[in-house]
Symmetry: C2
Subunit: 485 residues, 2 copies
C-alpha cells in the first residue's frame, strides 16, 4: 500500500472552553487531567499507527513553536516533522488542499493523507488503528473515506453522515451528509442506526483528493496552488516548515472540506467506528473525563465546600470556598474566572464572543505568554513598574534589543544566563542580578541545559511592549514581529 | 453633664464575611462601597457627637497600627486618641471593665462611657446623636442605658430587649434580655411592638458600671484590675496606648457584658431608636448597600454576564464570566474565591471555621499583610524565590535585620529609600536597585514624604519568614515578635 502521511489539522478557537482556551492558546493546547494536551494525544495517535515515519501538521504560524514544544516532548521515535503554517485560519478546504499539494510534491501523488483534527479525544486507540486500516483499503481504490462515529446519544450539536449501500462488512458508500438536527430528528437518527457522527477525520489518496478538488472546488485548488508558488519552505534542525504567503492565502475561499468536496463528490465512503470519541466541545464534556466524588463533584485544586453537589471546580492556583451550590462549572485562571450553570455550558461561547468584540486581552492571551524562546508571565503591573517571570528554554535566545523608556532589573532565580549589556557580555548565575539602563542594547541567552528562570522588574515612565527596538533575532522576527520579545 | 468618652470596641472576626474579613484583617477594617471602613464610619459617628474631645478604643494589639492609619485619615479635628490593646479577645465584659477602670483613672468616675461596636453600620447619624442625648440623661441618673433598635423584620439572628415600664417618652426600663428567637417568636416580637434588637451599644457613667460590676461580676472586675496593675502605658506622638499584660489578662473570665451585667442588673434602661442600622452580618447584608442593575445584579469589577440575575459579584481585580446564574454571592480576592448561594450566606462561617481548624493561612491572612511600617504583598513564590511588593509609609522604618539563607534584591519603583547594607548607608532612588547578600545586616527606611514602593526578590535555598535575626526595631518588636519584618 502507498505511504501514509497523517496530517494533523490544529485549528479551532474553542470559545466554549474559555477561559482556558484562548486565541493565542487554543483548544488543541488544552491539557487534560492526565497532563497531556489534545494536540499531544493526537500526535501520539497519529505516530502510533503502523509504518508512520513522517507527520504533516497544518496550523497557525503563531502557535508553531508551541506545537513543536508539545511534539518534542513525545517524539522519541524520531518521526519526521513537516509543517504548513497558516497566517490566519481559512477553514478546512484550503488547509487540506495545501496539504494535498504539498504531499504530492514531497511524497508523490499516490501517498495517502490521513486528516486528523487536533481538538477532539479518542480513547480506544486500537479501534482507531483498525478503522484506519479499513479506510486505507478503500482510499487505495480511489474513495474519499470518512470516519463515522457510532452515536451514543441523540446529539444535536454535530453533523451526521447517512450510510448508503455497503462496500464491505466494514464500510459503506455515503448516502448524504446532514446538518445538525433538531432533538426529535437526532433521536430518530439514533434509533434508526443509519446515521453516524461526522468527526472531521478523512483518509484519502492525494491523487483522489486533487481529482475531486479539480471537479468540485477548482477555485480553492487554484487559489491554494497560487499561494504555494508564493510561499517559502524553511529547513529547520529537526523539521521543515512551509510558511504560506498571507497575501495570496487571503484569496482562498473560506470554505469547509465538507461543503467544498464531501457533500458533492460521488466517491465518498464511510467507515463506522466506536472510538470512545469525544469532541471536548464544552466544559461538560471535559468534566466527564474525571471521576466524581461522593457528592458528585469533580475538583482540581484546593477547596472547602459546604453542601456543594455536582459541581466541576478547576482552580489549580487558588482556594475556592463554596456554599450551597449545585451543578455549576467553576474555572479559575490567573486573570479570569468562569462560573456557569453546567446545563448551559454551551453558552460559554457568548462570553468569549463578547470579549472578542470588546477587543479584550482575556479573549486572546493568557497571563503566561508563549514565545519561541520560552514563556513570560506578567506577575504584576502598576504605575511605573511591571514584573515578569521569564522562563528561557535551554539554548533559548531573546532578540538583541533596546528600550528607550524603561530600565530592566534581572534576577536569576534558577539556571544560568548569558547577558549582553551594551558592550559587556557576562554570565549571571543563580541568585545574581543585573540592571539594564534605558538606551542600552541587551540580550538574554540561556547557555545551559536546564531552564533559566528569571524575574524581570521593569521600571520607568512608559512600559508598553511597543517600546522595543529589535536588532537581531534567531527566530526571524526582525522586523515583521517587532512588537514582541 | 459629665464628660462623654466614646469607646469603640473593635472586635469581631466576621467569619461570615470571609474571604474579605480575616483574622488579621477583621470585619471593622472591611471597606464599604464608598471606600470607608466600618471602623472609620464608627470613628466619624463617635467624634461627630457634641463635645467629644477624646476617643477610647479597645482593640487587639495586632491591629493597632492599622487602626491608627484608619483614624488618621479622618482625625482632622485633633481628637485625643486613647487605646487599650488586648493581647487576645476576651469578650466584651473584660473589655468594658478595662475601659471603665481606665476612664475612671484618667477622666474621673463621673465620666460617661459610650460603648460603640465597630462592626455595624448606622445610616441615620442625626437619629443616633439624638438617641445618645436621651441616653446621656438617663446615664447621669445612674442607669446602664442600652440602645434598642426598632425591628424592621422578624429577624432570628439577633438578641432582643423587651421594654418594661416607661421612664420617659423616649426611654424604658428593660424588662428582660431575650436570646435569638425562632421564626414564629421573632414574628410575634415584630407584631407586638415590645421588643427591640440589641445592637451592643451602651451609655453609662463609669461609677455606675463599676458599681454594677462589683455587684454582679466582681471576678471580672478583680481580674481586670489586677491585669491593669501589670500593664504599661505608652505615650506616642499623637496618642497614648495601654498595653494589657497577657498573663494576667488571660485570667479574666471570657464573658459578654450582656451575661455579666445587663441581664442581672436592676438599673438597665433602653432607648428605642430608628438608626438605619445594619449589622453587616453577612454578604447578603453587604449587597444591600449597593443599588442593583436591571437584572438585579450588584457588581464591582470587570465582568461579562450572560443570563445572570440577582447576583452579587465583587471582583475588583479579575474578570468574571458568568453564564445562567441566579442568586449567587461571588467574592473574589487575590488568594481565595467564595461562591455561595445568596440564601445561604450565613453559612459562609462554616468555610472560615474549616479553614481555621485546618490552620490554613487563608483564615488568618490576606496576601497583603499590614505591618507598623506599611504593607507587603507576596506576588509570587516558587522554588528558590519569593517576590514581594513592599510599601513603606513616609518615615516608616523596617527593623535592622539579617538573614542566613537568602539574598534580597531591592528595586525602587517609586519614592526614595535609605538603605543600610552592612557598613554602608546610602540613598536608593526610583528605578535604582541594590542587593543584600546573606549574612549582611540591613535596614530599609523611607526618609521621604510620599510612599516608598519597592519590589523585593528573595532568592535562596530557604525563604521562610523565620530566617530573620532582628537587632533593633522602632516599633518595639524585638524580640517578642521576631518572626515578622
Amino acid at each position: 500500500m502507498s505511504t501514509l502521511i497523517p496530517c494533523i489539522i490544529a485549528g479551532g478557537a474553542g470559545t466554549r472552553l474559555w477561559p482556558v482556551s484562548r486565541e493565542a492558546m487554543p483548544k488543541p493546547f488544552m491539557r487534560l487531567p492526565d497532563g497531556e494536551s489534545l494536540l499531544q494525544k493526537t500526535f501520539r495517535r497519529a505516530t502510533g499507527l503502523r509504518d508512520v515515519g513522517q507527520l504533516l501538521t497544518v496550523t497557525n504560524r503563531e502557535v508553531f513553536f508551541r506545537t513543536l514544544d508539545d511534539y518534542r516532548q513525545l517524539n522519541k521515535g524520531g518521526v519526521e516533522l513537516d509543517f504548513i503554517l497558516e497566517p490566519f485560519g481559512r477553514n478546512t478546504a484550503p488547509a487540506i488542499a495545501a496539504a494535498a499539494l504539498h504531499v504530492a510534491q514531497r511524497y508523490g501523488e499516490d501517498a495517502q493523507l490521513l486528516v486528523l483534527p487536533a481538538d477532539h479525544l479518542i480513547k480506544d486507540i486500537e479501534a482507531f488503528a483498525k478503522a484506519v486500516d479499513n479506510a486505507r483499503q478503500l482510499a487505495d481504490e480511489g474513495w474519499l473515506v470518512t470516519f463515522g462515529i457510532v452515536p451514543t446519544k441523540a446529539e444535536t450539536g454535530f453533523g451526521y453522515i447517512e450510510k448508503g449501500p455497503a462496500l464491505s462488512s466494514e464500510a459503506y458508500e455515503v448516502a448524504r451528509f446532514v446538518e445538525k438536527p433538531d432533538a426529535a430528528t437526532a433521536q430518530q437518527y439514533l434509533d434508526g442506526g443509519l446515521h453516524l457522527w461526522n468527526g472531521g477525520m478523512f483518509c484519502m489518496r492525494v491523487d483522489s483528493v486533487l481529482r475531486e478538488f479539480k471537479a468540485y472546488a477548482p477555485d480553492v485548488l487554484a487559489a491554494v496552488s497560487h499561494c504555494l508558488e508564493h510561499s517559502q519552505v524553511f529547513q529547520g534542525k529537526q523539521e521543515i516548515h512551509l510558511e504560506l504567503d498571507s497575501t495570496t492565502f487571503a484569496l482562498a475561499p473560506d470554505i469547509s472540506i465538507d461543503y467544498a468536496l464531501m457533500e458533492r463528490s460521488k466517491k465518498v465512503a464511510v467507515v463506522p467506528c466506536n472510538l470512545g470519541w469525544s469532541d471536548i466541545g464544552s466544559w461538560e464534556a471535559v468534566r466527564e473525563l474525571s471521576p466524581a466524588d461522593a457528592n458528585g463533584n469533580q475538583c482540581n485544586g484546593e477547596n472547602v465546600l459546604h453542601d456543594v453537589h455536582n459541581c466541576y471546580i478547576d482552580s489549580p492556583k487558588r482556594l475556592v470556598g463554596g456554599v450551597g451550590l449545585n451543578d455549576l462549572i467553576i474555572i479559575d485562571t490567573p486573570d479570569a474566572l468562569l462560573i456557569a450553570d453546567a446545563k448551559r455550558s454551551q453558552d460559554v461561547k457568548y462570553i468569549a464572543q463578547t470579549l472578542k468584540r470588546q477587543g479584550h486581552d482575556a479573549y486572546r492571551l493568557h497571563r503566561t505568554v508563549t514565545r519561541p524562546w520560552g514563556t513570560y508571565t506578567v506577575l504584576e503591573e502598576g504605575r511605573r513598574f511591571k514584573i515578569k517571570r521569564i522562563v528561557v528554554k535551554p539554548q533559548g535566545t531573546l532578540s538583541l534589543q533596546m528600550h528607550h523608556h524603561r530600565s530592566e532589573h534581572w534576577i536569576v532565580v534558577s539556571g544560568m544566563a548569558r547577558v549582553t549589556n551594551g558592550d559587556d557580555e557576562f554570565l549571571l548565575d543563580t541568585n545574581e542580578s543585573t540592571f539594564i539602563k534605558p538606551g542600552k542594547t541587551h540580550r538574554l541567552v540561556n547557555p545551559g541545559v536546564v531552564d533559566l528562570v528569571m524575574i524581570e522588574v521593569q521600571s520607568g515612565e512608559y512600559l508598553g511592549e511597543d517600546d522595543i527596538v529589535r536588532f537581531t533575532d534567531i527566530y526571524g522576527r526582525v522586523p515583521v514581529d517587532a512588537s514582541k520579545n
